[in-house]
C-alpha cells in the first residue's frame, strides 16, 4: 500500500461532545479514583460540577488535560499537588507566550509606522 492510498477524507463528527467518567477512564487508561482526585485538586473539572461523580461529563479539553497530567506524572514522577502546580504554571506560561507574541506583533506594527 503506498502512502497515498492511506489518505482518506474525513468529516468532523462532533466538536462539542462530552465524555462520562467511565469513558474518560477508558480513554485515559486510568482508574476512576485518579480522575476523582484530579477533580478534587482542581486539575480538571467536569462540565457541570454535580456532587455525584457518576453523573460527571468532561469535555475534550479536560480529556486532553487528563492525558497531559498522566504523561507528566509518569515521566516526571510528580505527586498530585506538584502536578496541579505544574499544570497551572504551564497554562500560565502558555498564556504569557501567546500574549508576548501578540504584543511583539503590535510593537512591530507600531515600529513600522
Amino acid at each position: 500500500m503506498t502512502s497515498k492510498d492511506q489518505i482518506v477524507t474525513v468529516e468532523l463528527t462532533d466538536a462539542g461532545s462530552t465524555f462520562t467518567l467511565r469513558e474518560v477512564c477508558e480513554r485515559g487508561d486510568c482508574h476512576a479514583e485518579f480522575v476523582i482526585k484530579l477533580v478534587s485538586y482542581g486539575i480538571i473539572a467536569p462540565v457541570d460540577e454535580v456532587p455525584e461523580a457518576r453523573q460527571w461529563q468532561f469535555d475534550v479539553e479536560a480529556l486532553a488535560r487528563l492525558q497531559k497530567a498522566m504523561r507528566l506524572q509518569r515521566d516526571l514522577k510528580l505527586n498530585l499537588p506538584g502536578l496541579a502546580v505544574s499544570l497551572d504554571l504551564l497554562d500560565e506560561v502558555q498564556d504569557m507566550r501567546r500574549e508576548i507574541a501578540r504584543l511583539n506583533q503590535q510593537l512591530r506594527q507600531l515600529m513600522d509606522e
Binding site: 489518505i7 468532523l12 480513554r27 486532553a64 492525558q67 507528566l72 506583533q105
Partner: protein, 323 residues
C-alpha cells in the same frame, strides 16, 4: 545503524555514579518533556534521554552497553552488534518496566529488544494485549497549526500522526498515518476537534480510538486574536482623526468601510460587531486607530501646521510626563 552514545545523551561521564545518572536524567527529563518544553525537537530529545536512562540506570544493561561501546562502535559512528549477540538483560523477558518501549530507537531494539518478540510488555496497556478480552484502541492527540485565514474560513488540511498497532506477530509497531481533514470555519487557538475511529485500532474486536486535533494559530502580520475577537491596528491621517472620516478597514473576511468619529485619538478602539471569529457566539473585530504622519510636507502644508500650532498652543501632548 548509528551508535547511540547514552553517556553523551545524559551529559555524564562513563564513570558517573548511579546517583549522578539519575540526577542528570531528572534534570533533562524536566527540560525536554514535550508537555513542558517549547524547544524544537524536544520530543526527540526526551525520547533520547529516556532511552539512555533506561539503559544506564540498570547495572546489567549498563555493563552490556559499556562492553558494546568498547568493541561495537566504528570510527565513522556506525554500529553493528557482534555476530550472535544476545542480551542477557533482554527488555521484555526481564520483567516489568514502566518505560514506553515503543519509543526506543532501532539501536536499542537491536541490543536489548531480543527478548520481546513474543509480545509487548512495557506501558500500562501491555498486560492486556495477550488477553482475549476486547480492548479499545488508543486515542491519538495531534496538533495542527493553521493560518488565521484558514481557521476563519475553514479548510481542508493534511494531518500526519503516528499510531501504535500490533503487527502480524503481535509486536507493537509505529505506523505513520495521513488523513485529509476538513477543518470547520471558526476554529480558535486551543480548540479540539475529534475524528471518530481514526486513532489506534482496537484489539480483539474492540473499537478504534479517536484522533483529537488541537488547533494552533500561526501569528498573522496584521491581525491578532483574543478569544473570539480579532484586533487590528489601523493607521489614520491626523485630519481623518480630527475631522472624522469613512475609511476602508481590512477584516479576515474582507474589506469593510468604517466611520471614524470626529475627534478620535491614537489608540481609540472601534468595535465592528460580528466581524471577529464565526461561531455560536461570533466575535467582534476591534480596530485600534493609530494616527500616522506623512513623511514630508509641502510648504503650503507646513504653513497650515504653523497656523495650527498657533491656534492650539495650549495643548501639551506631554502633560502626563509633567513636562
Amino acid at each position: 545503524m548509528d551508535f547511540k552514545d547514552y553517556y553523551a545523551a545524559l551529559g555524564v561521564s562513563e564513570s558517573a555514579s548511579p546517583e549522578d545518572i539519575k540526577k542528570a536524567y531528572r534534570k533533562l527529563a524536566r527540560k525536554y518533556h514535550p508537555d513542558v518544553s517549547k524547544e524544537e525537537n524536544a520530543s526527540d530529545k526526551f525520547k533520547e534521554v529516556g532511552e539512555a536512562y533506561e539503559v544506564l540506570k540498570d547495572p546489567e544493561k549498563r555493563a552490556e552497553y559499556d562492553q558494546l561501546r568498547k568493541y561495537g562502535a566504528r570510527a565513522d559512528g556506525s554500529f553493528q552488534p557482534p555476530p550472535g549477540w544476545q542480551s542477557s538483560s533482554g527488555f521484555g523477558g526481564g520483567g516489568y518496566t514502566e518505560a514506553d518501549a515503543r519509543q526506543f530507537s532501532d539501536f536499542f531494539e537491536e541490543i536489548f529488544g531480543g527478548g520481546r518478540a513474543g509480545g509487548f510488555s512495557g506501558g500500562p496497556r501491555g498486560a492486556g494485549f495477550r488477553q482475549s478480552r476486547s480492548m479499545r484502541g488508543e486515542d491519538v492527540h495531534a496538533r495542527l497549526a493553521l493560518f488565521l485565514e484558514e481557521a476563519f474560513h475553514g479548510c481542508e488540511k493534511q494531518v500526519s500522526f503516528t499510531v501504535h498497532e500490533p503487527d502480524d506477530h503481535g509486536r507493537i509497531i509505529a505506523r505513520r498515518k495521513t488523513l485529509n481533514v476538513k477543518i470547520p470555519a471558526g476554529m480558535r487557538e486551543g480548540q479540539h476537534i475529534r475524528l471518530k475511529g481514526q486513532g489506534a485500532p482496537g484489539m480483539g474486536g474492540g473499537e478504534s480510538g479517536d484522533l483529537f486535533i488541537e488547533v494552533e494559530l500561526a501569528p498573522h502580520p496584521h491581525f491578532a486574536v483574543e478569544g473570539p475577537d480579532v484586533l487590528v491596528a489601523v493607521p489614520v491621517a491626523p485630519w481623518e482623526a480630527a475631522l472624522g472620516a469613512t475609511i476602508t478597514v481590512p477584516t479576515i473576511g474582507g474589506k469593510v468601510n468604517v466611520k471614524v468619529p470626529k475627534g478620535s485619538t491614537s489608540g481609540r478602539k472601534l468595535r465592528l460587531k460580528g466581524k471577529g471569529f464565526p461561531g455560536k457566539h461570533p466575535g467582534d473585530q476591534l480596530v485600534v486607530l493609530q494616527v500616522a504622519m506623512p513623511e514630508q510636507h509641502t510648504a503650503e502644508a507646513e504653513a497650515l501646521y504653523e497656523k495650527l500650532a498657533e491656534l492650539e498652543k495650549n495643548f501639551n501632548p506631554r502633560s502626563k510626563l509633567h513636562v
